[in-house]
Amino acid sequence: MRTRRKISAYYPIGGPLPFDTWLPTWTVTTALQVPVAENQLAEIRNNKLDLVFQNFNLLPRTSAVENVELPLLYTRDAEIDRRQRALFALRLVGLSDLAHHHPNQLSGGQQQRVAIARSLVNNPEIILGDEPTGALDSRTSIEIMAIFQKLNRDSGITMIIVTHEPDIAAHAGRIIRFKDGRVVEDRTVPEPRNAARELAAMPVEASLEEQQMVLS
């Protein structure tokens, strides 16, 4: 069991590492299965590598902005202004207006955007997406991919996304295909699909807001 845990996305491995060397170390320690203290793992989960889930995993009865603040509660730095950072992250995903809504007042796409804001509030180097569009319809999925691409382009955050949908995968710059746990294909995509452009080209059946109302 221990070995499987090591490879899992939830168990990145690392020590008290220089800023730009933690990822190689992670890879090495993972390969060598060096056990690392839980708290060091927690620290990496906190500010190096964040997660976006298929089922969003937002805290119920807790406003969007408080959900986004969650990782900051566990940051060592006591000086940060949590509320301000959380609101900034929500602005990056375009949800400034809904900061004080609770998850049950938000559509699936909006909830996922809150989850993305939560993942990037600590300025991670990598965001891992565990089928982030799995529970969303195709248009909302593309909206989410547009956010991912923007974060990748503007903030330099590496996105690693697990998906079953080739359409979603086509947005990535590199695709590694697994079959039964084995790599069967590893190719770079010279020109990934641009989600923002796709959205613009989509027929405007309804305004974005109205459509979200329908979805929720």
Binding site: E38, E43, N46
Partner: protein
Amino acid sequence: MKPLLPSIKIAYRALRTNKMRSALTMLGVIIGVAAVIATVAVGAGATARIQQQIASLGSNLIIIIPGSITTSGIRLGSGIALTLTEDDGRAIVAQCPAVSIAAPTVRRGEQVIAGNNNWATSIQGVTPDYLTVRDLAVEHGSSFTGQDVDGATKVALLGKTVTDNLFNGGDPVGQTIRIRNVPFTVIGVLSPKGQSPGGQDQDDVILIPLSTAKKKVLGVSQASAGAVGTIMVQAVNSGAINAAQDQMRALLRQRHHLQPSQDDDFTMRNLEEVFAAQESSARVMAVLLAVIASVSLIVGGIGIMNIMLVSVTERTREIGLRQAVGARTGDILLQFLVEAVAISLLGGIAGIGVGLAASAIISHVAHWSTVLSPASILLAFAFSGLVGIFFGYYPARKAAFLDPIEALRYE
């Protein structure tokens, strides 16, 4: 140091989400703390009452009464023989270093008349020292002096009960009362002392000078002119009571020419010993009650543990998520510990309120005196906090060591 504030906020929210459940869990602690406070208050009240009664008799008091004498094989009861004298009293003060005051007294029950009223009460012939020994004060008017005793003046100090019955509560000072047809001028009224530990009314008394009592009221025979009924002795301090008794016993035996084979012809009573025993039994009772009450506090703690275990199970996914966004083992542990302690401390605060109310009701309804000590309240409160930590630790630990993946996937 990790800031506690976020944990407190999370705990507050969690408790508010399940109001009924939180309230019922707190109830266990509330009852426990309230029971501890109320029982300690009742116990302390009983102890204080006994101490107060001892103090009302006079502090460090030893009473010497004449013993039994055997005449021609007939043993008379104690207090019959007139073996104690005023000279004994003077000798005791002069020769026993552990004694500060010795006040010889005589007493007799008499019918007293004042105007149209009459009342049977206890007439005591005393010296001014008696007031010191018994810790008596003159509330109104003046006390008598050594000159009154020397000159056998006909003056009297009245107790509260006597004043009420002879003068219907009016001012008796300066009035005349008659004891055995001898007129006495009332010069003062004594401060009320209340009941003695034996249940006697200590205010139903008239004090007159010792010499006057013997000459005018008791009609003492020539043969035993110096005899007195009782000598009230005050030891220099509470630690000197035993020493004083030993010294007095030796002195009196010598003065009364008793052979080593003979029994004492007097008896000493040291009331503090009697009441110290009462006091310690009251204290044992109080401790016992408090222990039983603490058991209910522990049961309340088990309630907290139970509900925290339920809460951890219910919030497994939340815990998993917190771990996924970087919560350390210690963060989760702290969060659940704070929640448990919040329940127990809130219960503790409410319990203090209920305990205070319960003590007030007990003293009001059952007429038991209760004494609330800040120490006992603080102790109960601190204990409730400890109960929270102790019984919250296991569930919190369980939460903290959940496996993040399993926790996130928990349905």
